[in-house]
Symmetry: C2
Subunit: 339 residues, 2 copies
């Protein structure tokens, strides 16, 4: 321990642009945030990346061997490669040497490694991946979970997601009175598929969950909800669609704005405002997905993470640790329906 | 019969802005398209709307009494109100007095009325609602189905949707070799929930369906697919999310572009280009959802339809009739797996 700074184990080998961008992001985080980074991976490769940043602060390197490839089946691969970077990073948390893990590698492997090395929280059947989206209302994000960990869900899983999401919204996103919605295709309680109808009843009955009703596709980004629960199939479709749509809009702007002489002039004049638009639409500034329900703080970065995104992911980890989100979730678990 | 023009029965009483906007759309359609409109609803109200358009062409009014309200349970309401506008419109198709129905009213009621009055096509277990989205590639839309009729689906329903979608893409959207995708959360055949995994096998095995693999959320608007099948829960979430996102993006542009002196100048200079952007992003120009699998051509307009949208919906109906999409679907049905 010694230092009171949050210590984040960064999986330097995971992600499409690893290790260069990951190390770059770690440096940025160490410079900008009050955190201590542990870089987990192949020391030689990490050293080579660090050498590109001569003014970078000193960072501890924790040696690991190999990485779980995107094409590998997570559980057998994790067993076959006990020294893989994600395994080593999780062990650092288990041993109390780090407070959180950040990885932009194989998300299924990160989830499986967290389950194998850290285990589930008591009362949680399935951990969920939560993603934070910006909404129409600036400064008021919405947490959507699950966005991909559990494709076939039971109602009680969604109740667990709702409870964990409530705590996260309260203590990390700063919603004093979070409004929890159930992703559904209509407003009425009897709308939706079997899962939604049964989940609606559970959420309605749980006093610890500030359930405000169904959230239709059109309401997700309205700012009317702080937490939206759904199964990992619907959530993943939504997440990936949302990510793509931002890119499509920017593409349409790029194609249509500069058309003609007036277009070229207008674009020059609006340069600054267009940059603001890009940053509001672009997903890159938002910091990774959270793994909720395991006995440790884990942030899963996008596979295509660059240094900027990685730094945001480290910030998410720091916020979760500083706000003691894990303890808060543990305290709330007795409110769950019996399994 | 007599005339070779397509005859479209328009439910004048259905929709948030009925009957004024619906009648307005019908007039626009009759003026711009080579169709014959039958206005179904309360004659007095329709006459009053027509009186607002003194130069409008003459249109036949088919009297109906009452409308299915948004809050009503469709099937009992349809039985209780046999003369409701949607019932009368469907009967016109059944009796051969109209070639298609267009309604912006209660979509569940339109679907139920089609089932009650027209029936299903042989071999189709469940009709689907299909929505056409613009993609990244201009002039190359994608048909997503089901977007809300069937919240809990079996694999064979999705196979049926895929076959109907293929025919629609070929004969109405003009895709010579449609590429059919299965909405899913990963590219590999073993990814997804139970429904997706089993549907993947059926689609792969059906030679009549040009299945090209899984379509992730990020791929829906890529232009890589002409048809995307999914259950009505995921599809409805996607549809409503997409509709809302267009509005949010326009809102961001509206907020950010005119900021500062340079912003105001730039917006003035770019006026024309911004209008092009609005029309590419805005959903209003796209013409209603299709009800596929019933024994008649039915187009379901958005509840908030205005005259513009209604006119597009009539155009969709016209295209479906002129391209004999119903006969083409019937011809293709023997290609389905046995029930």
């Amino acid at each position: 321990m010694g230092s009171s700074r949050v210590r984040v184990a960064v999986d330097a080998m995971g992600g499409d642009h690893a290790p260069a961008e990951i190390v770059g992001g770690a440096i940025k985080a160490q410079q900008e945030l009050d955190v201590e980074i542990l870089l987990v991976g192949d020391p030689q490769q990490i050293e080579a990346c660090l050498a590109q940043h001569p003014t970078a602060p000193k960072m501890e390197i924790v040696p690991a061997e190999g990485v779980i490839e995107m094409t590998e089946d997570p559980v057998p691969a994790l067993r076959k490669k006990p020294k893989a970077s994600i395994n080593v990073a999780m062990k650092l948390v288990k041993q109390g040497k780090a407070d959180a893990v950040v990885s932009a590698g194989h998300s299924g492997a990160a989830m499986a490694a967290a389950l194998l090395r850290l285990g589930r929280l008591p009362g949680i059947d399935r951990p969920a991946i939560g993603a934070v989206f910006p909404t129409m209302v600036q400064g008021q994000p919405v947490l959507v979970l699950d966005v991909g960990a559990n494709v076939d869900c039971r109602p009680k899983y969604l109740e667990q997601f709702a409870l964990m999401g409530t705590v996260y919204a309260q203590y990390v996103l700063g919603s004093e009175q979070p409004r929890v919605g159930l992703l559904n295709i209509g407003e009425e309680p009897n709308k939706g598929n079997e899962l939604a109808i049964q989940t609606h009843e559970l959420l309605q009955a749980n006093e610890r969950i500030p359930f405000t009703g169904n959230c239709e596709g059109r309401d997700v980004l309205s700012g009317d909800f702080d937490v939206v629960v759904c199964d990992g199939f619907a959530g993943n479709i939504l997440l990936k669609f949302a990510e793509a749509v931002g890119g499509i809009l920017l593409q349409i702007l790029k194609e249509e704005l500069p058309r003609g002489k007036r277009g070229k002039l207008g674009v020059t004049v609006l340069k600054h405002n267009l940059r603001r638009i890009r940053s509001r639409v672009d997903h890159a500034e938002h910091g990774g997905a959270l793994l909720l329900g395991v006995a440790g703080v884990c942030i899963i970065g996008h596979g295509s993470s660059d240094a900027e995104t990685m730094c945001s992911a480290v910030r998410s980890a720091q916020e979760a640790v500083e706000n003691q989100v894990l303890d808060r979730i543990k305290e709330s678990l007795p409110a769950l329906s019996p399994s």
